[in-house]
Amino acid sequence: MSESSPDQLARWVSRTLAVGTALAIGTIAVGVLAGLVTGDASVPPGHGLSAQIGAGRPASIVAIGLLLLTLTPIAQLLPAVAAFARQGERRYAAISALLLGLLLIGIAAAAILTRSGGG
């Protein structure tokens, strides 16, 4: 285990969180501004996230930003797995991978349940 290993983990995870948050907030800001400029701030027809994004209106840009924001904490697990594996911390690499798997399975389950529920 190298002495600089915690720094590598911290740098990678921190950068992913910072970039993801900035990108998401920026996208949301563009969508909100576009809604103000065009005067079209209403919610697109349809209830689900896919309908909101597919509507091609300013609110769709906001919906993409919200999706990016929600994905950011999940995305941080990818560099965490890589950093732990590279540092030889197998236990934490496995925990990070398990957490990533849990989150992806949970999202897939929520999507299936939403679809079968008509949402």
């Binding site: 740098r11 906001v62 941080q76 540092q87 911390e89």
Partner: protein
């Protein structure tokens, strides 16, 4: 924590819509702070990942159950959470919380497991993961970060220093809120036209708040927050007792 009552009591949104919007805002405030806390070593990422396994599973179960719970029950649960928060605030104001680290003990939250690992990381771990599951449920059912449970858990049960407990809890919060928010997003409970401006406002507010907080007396801040929390508990209790879905 106050966003859900603000959206429901002041703007008349349904609790499920307010909870989904609040969870997205939790991510917005948590991710930015976590990026800083992980980089500076204030947050214990290793402990956070272990406990997040509990909160994430809890958040999924909470968000799936939330769709089937009536607004009145959620309002009642929220009132109870507010009362617990008020009690924690009052207790903190009455007696200063001691630091979990022993005198002179050097703690490096970013140290890998081994001889240099902080001792709190292994203390009561099974209990902590179980309690984290409860925190995840509370987070996604009520649209809060879950810090009201995880900070005392890491500080008082695992005996980590308070600043490490707060930073680690914040690090977990993003993953927990993300797990909870997806079900609300996919169901369309989060309206972009409401959530967009709210997320921008919350992000700007947390940026300014972090710079203003050191200039305001902590005691006054706690007292003001206590009054607001008690008022919200009262309003939510009234909603639970008096209104129908």
């Amino acid at each position: 924590m106050l966003l859900v009552p603000l959206l429901t009591l002041a703007f008349g949104y349904s609790l499920t819509s307010a909870v989904g919007t609040s969870l997205v805002c939790v991510i917005a405030t948590s991710a930015g702070a976590a990026a800083h806390n992980v980089l500076t070593g204030r947050a214990d990422a290793r402990l956070g990942l272990i406990l997040a396994a509990g909160t994430v599973v809890g958040a999924f179960s909470g968000s799936l159950v939330a769709a089937y719970l009536p607004d009145r029950l959620l309002a009642g649960l929220f009132a109870l959470l507010m009362l617990y928060t008020a009690y924690s605030l009052w207790r903190g104001m009455v007696r200063a919380t001691d630091d979990g680290a022993g005198p002179g003990e050097r703690i490096d939250p970013s140290a890998p497991d081994g001889a240099s690992a902080p001792s709190y990381r292994a203390r009561q771990r099974g209990l902590a993961v179980s309690a984290s599951f409860v925190a995840g449920n509370v987070s996604s059912l009520l649209g809060v970060g879950g810090g009201v449970i995880t900070v005392p858990l890491v500080h008082l049960v695992m005996r980590a220093p308070l600043d490490v407990a707060a930073a680690t809890s914040n690090f977990m919060m993003g993953m927990t809120a993300s797990a909870g928010a997806f079900a609300y997003l996919l169901r369309g409970d989060v309206s972009p036209s409401i959530a967009g401006p709210v997320v921008l406002g919350v992000a700007a507010g947390s940026f300014m708040g972090a710079r203003l907080a050191p200039r305001i007396k902590a005691g006054w801040l706690s007292a003001a927050f206590l009054i607001v929390v008690l008022y919200v508990a009262f309003e939510m209790a009234m909603r639970a007792l008096g209104s129908t879905r």
